[in-house]
Symmetry: D2
Subunit: 400 residues, 4 copies
């Protein structure tokens, strides 16, 4: 291994994509993350936005972000229409609004012929999700759902190792996403993130299960390739008066016989963003923790456990492709997020250039993953409402 | 803190108890552990035994262990009778046989007026368990079940902190006991431990759930004081041809509203004896891992996480009482086990001396904990057999 | 704490600084890091460069990086002159060449009235270093040395805690920077990074001591504020035929009585970029590891150790100011590096706007830190060459 | 691997050795540790003692420990004489007094024909040390110095791996033993351990260097087999008014070219018993930490780091021999200490039975290791007193 070979930061490209943004104005959290992610590899330039439902906030945000005032829109509808008409209109839009404001913008920009990068969960109902799958399919446009954790090099590494048989047949999946920030009724203090995430009108029917449980479920699916057959959920709302779940216990049964457990919580003191996965097969185990994302524990049966590090000698090509700096120089959340943006750029470039994309760029989460997430949420809620019975998540007819 | 004050190894006592043993001959594992545990604080002297069902093995073991040949018995029945008659007969017997050989010896030695220390699980059926509760109650003898992990200082510390309200109201319990040694069909290789632990005739109806799942369930109950209300289990036998479960996923509902998840597995590569517990309340969290037993993570909501170390400034009186060496000098499995033996000795001494025992000695697991373990196993098996439905474990009538 | 308050990614600015670069063409490592760091907060736009001493490579790199061909220069001299003349000439230059090519460019761009961001170590001789201090002082320009580790939020946190007395009087500093990539004679394989870093003509008289030992020394000085009084070094070249040191053991004496040890190595298998510091005072200790940079261990005497996390409740204002994402979402090497760039931008803006800079922006390493680094290298080499005697590093007369 | 094969607790032996003890009465610390260590494997029975220099305390201690009153002696001289005359006199004595009371008892018991187990450091002067080497050699008796950390299975594993060439040629040794309990002037509070350990009349000329620095030095020698050629020490007394060193920085040069650093401290808040060693060779590295003694990191150059666990698949025969319980069930300080006692018993048995001992029993630290420790202390003190110059530790003439 040489530092040079393994960890060359990807060179920037002069041909930046024109990026628009819906949401992400002052006081928002995830919008700024998307912007840094987009900038990291120099493939995007932010040129337009409907940054807030409050016009004043939107134009102020635009000014701060260096977006020309005539491309700071009051509504996403107006933006989709205007940008769709411009010769130098945006190539792609990032939708970073609360969940109830995903469906409308996705639909509007697809109709305007714009690629879409959209926050998760996909939307707020299974019907809308099904509709969006159909619309994306017909549009010919790139649609990327920011299940951003799939962008971490060591997550790609897990997928590659499992796909290549390093674990044998998967038996057990243990996945969890645990936080503590909603341990008290933060939504009553004016904290904006807490307010919308615990409000069914903005979040949809799922609270914790939709906000972070879907990340856990997606991570398990992404790394193992397993399909969820049924689940049994016991969901709680521990903080009195809260309107959505804040802790979820879920048993999982996968097609082919693997079994799993999923825990998501926002009321467990001492946990910041504890997304962890442990996967066990007939031949070996793997475990990974988002808070130490550059390391991966690989435990072949009957051999000493091994530490696989990003950029290190145990890392494969899939991880190497999304590695920017040498081993021991940690990459983090923003770099993982940026990998999703870089792969999305590659997909769009492949269309523009009428060529096959790099195969790993196809790993980015799609609208189908968005549908699966919505089906997972719906099944968990139904299971728990019925007292904790086994429920089979819906699937797309086309997939059957 | 001074090393002297916090960590004085407990002084040995001249008044050793006369100890007998059933099981634990050559080739056994847990018998030797019991013997070291008994010796650690110099409160016991091994003087008699029925070490094996094979008479030759039993007498050979006796010779090795320094037990006089006339007190090496061929059967536990013979031993109970003979020792019960001797003036210098054993004070207490340790029963370290496979599960199906617990009930008989417990009953025989109680009838012979001998205190009993017995391995877990208590026996192999709920009816037997109920009967033993009754027999112990009537006997006036000490009965200690070696749920040995409750002897770890940091486990006592967790119990003390939770009882004193440091966590507020408990909301979530995550507990697991994970191993890998049965990932293949080891029982077919002649490995004795694997053979009996996967044999329903010797283990009872539970495999993994009985062998280690009960430890996890007991640890949750011991530390939190919560009572299990109902559970939903999904149990698997991953190794083909195995006759008992080797992986168990269980959802837990406790009285009062706390919820939990329990995972026990013997087929997860890379796990040796991964007994871990994480407990979250309204005010704080605690987490502990058996493989690093001298450390405890305490995470008060809204404050930096704190590390509580055995013997360190954060440790309380309950942990201090069972601490032998200074902080930073690790104690382990044998010391924790020995604490159970030391507490059992204290209970017996208090009876002999007609006085109250030290209150912490009453923390040792009893026949009632044994019953709860059997009820847990039975409920999990029933739940899983019925496809994963919610089942309420049986309770002792007297407790209702 | 709210996610919103603690971890708002800093908004991008429309008023980007025009950035030029010397070095950093194809095959280089650190140039790409500088470019990402510059982009992270959207305060810079790369518009010119002399990317390589090979003109063809330089212009190819320019094309890849979106730099106009008329601003891709063959030499830094040409670039300094041309950019100095342009109305829209660069505001600032990043010098990312091997060490022997620092002095010339720094001097040329200062003379051209351009701010300078320069890689460490400052140059290759103490005389040059002294000269550069003088030149920077007279120029009125911003000069920032990329001792990038000082940009990590938790490193700023250490500095703040020590300055505010949380540790009491410092007694002991243990610092190390350990790698393994030069365990074999990699410089003979054509690996470019290894080649120049082990070549005295390009690196200067220090190998490991200059490449990473200076980072360790700087980190100790930055966090504690202590001034080095004398040192005793034992340096080795373990790989046969290598021309510079690859392992360095150094004893440190600080003014005021604190004592320390410094270890830097590039031949210790299993270490990637193991930069660690542990600092002990009369009241508490602190320890930090670059490979897990979001965590800081704080150990007040006689109290349980506490974990301070980036963005968490124990983090102060200095760390909070350079935090982009919520606690539990790891930031890494690039974000720390970007903080240096953001602070440099703030310093330049404060000059342009004729106002005081944010006080924390003054924490960026300066040319004086560069001089101290050169004095450290020189003293270590002299000490070791003389068999390991105590040597007092040179200081700037102005400082006496 | 099977639990049975790898981790059979060693069976107890009926032929217990008769053990006497000098020191270790009420209020002592290490005496109780020795007693537990002696009991662990049932090879010793404590039958005599001079437990304290205060006769009343000695006889009270004897009573508590079950030692007959006629074998509770007022002085070690009386004890050596009386026991030497008895037919059933002690086979071996454990000397667990402060350092200044090692030489006399060792000499007396050797003269009485009794084997000796003695605490470290060996004595308080190099002359005494040299004399004891000679006396032991002439006595034909077993002499074991309780550098107890060499009894840890993973420490034996390190030695085995290095001896077998797994690391290639050793280049660098980093070793440290760090505590915090003397960060304040504890010796003035009446704390007995602090009082004698900081008193030159009882400790000898070394404070921290003798108390724990010798352990670090011995650990490096034991695991690597390297011989110390010279050292350069910078020792401090940070606590005002303390009479001995409490923090020591030492550079090490080994014969053959390896280099090292040694840090011992008793004033570094947050450290309990932080004995750590890291060893790097041309082919791989090893690191071990006494507070997590069951794990060993093995880092072959160019391969993923591996975790070797006590009892696990990576552990060799030397570690396996001193392993009592299965992997994942932690062993600790007392078990490591007990391994020294078990090996001492094996050496004594081999003499009694006129046979070769098990070869690994010869690994126990001897009087020669004791001499080397005294030479290390003396050299460090001389080096530091002369301002930090390089000093060659004395060696035994016989070894030259």
């Amino acid at each position: 291994m040489t530092i040079e070979d393994k960890a060359q930061p990807r060179s920037a490209r002069p041909d930046r994509l024109r990026l628009g943004m819906v949401g992400g104005g002052q006081g928002a959290f995830i919008g700024a993350v998307h912007r840094i992610a987009a900038r990291m590899d120099d493939r995007y330039e932010l040129v337009a936005g409907a940054f807030s439902s409050e016009p004043d906030r939107s134009s102020k945000s635009a000014a701060e972000l260096g977006v020309a005032s005539d491309r700071a829109y009051a509504t996403y509808q107006e933006m989709a229409e205007a940008e769709g008409r411009r010769d130098d209109g945006i190539d792609v839009v990032a939708i970073v609004t609360p969940n109830h404001l995903h469906y409308g913008p996705v639909r509007a920009f697809l109709e305007a012929g714009v690629h879409v990068i959209c926050d998760k969960p996909l939307c707020t109902s299974l019907d809308d999700a099904r509709d969006l799958v159909d619309r994306v399919d017909r549009s010919g446009k790139v649609f990327v759902l920011t299940h951003n954790y799939t962008g971490y090099p060591m997550v790609r590494q897990m997928r590659e190792m499992i796909a290549s048989g390093d674990l044998g047949d998967i038996r057990v999946v243990q996945v969890e996403y645990v936080q503590d920030w909603l341990s008290t009724k933060l939504e009553e203090t004016g904290q904006k993130q807490a307010a919308w995430r615990t409000d069914p009108a903005q979040s949809g029917a799922g609270g914790c299960i939709g906000d972070i449980g879907t990340h856990a479920n997606n991570l398990a699916a992404f790394t193992t390739g397993l399909k969820l057959e049924s689940l049994c959920a016991d969901m709680q709302t521990f903080v009195e008066g809260r309107r959505l779940d804040d802790n979820c216990h879920v048993l999982l049964r996968y097609e082919g016989g693997a079994r799993g457990m999923l825990w998501s919580s926002q009321v467990s003191p001492g946990n910041e963003n504890g997304l962890k996965i442990r996967i066990y097969g007939t031949k070996a185990g793997l475990s990974w923790h988002q808070e130490q994302p550059n390391h991966l524990d690989f435990t072949p049966l009957g051999e000493p456990p091994r530490l696989i590090t990003r950029g290190g000698s145990g890392a494969g090509t899939s991880a190497g492709r999304v590695t920017r700096v040498p081993p021991g120089h940690p990459e983090g959340y923003l770099e993982g997020f940026a990998n999703i943006y870089a792969d999305a750029a590659e997909l769009m470039a492949s269309i523009a250039e009428d060529r096959e994309p790099e195969s790993d760029a196809l790993l980015v989460p799609t609208v189908r993953d968005g549908f699966d997430g919505m089906a997972f949420i719906a099944a968990a809620i139904e299971s728990s409402r019925r007292g904790g019975v086994w429920v089979r998540p819906e699937t797309l007819v086309a997939d059957v």
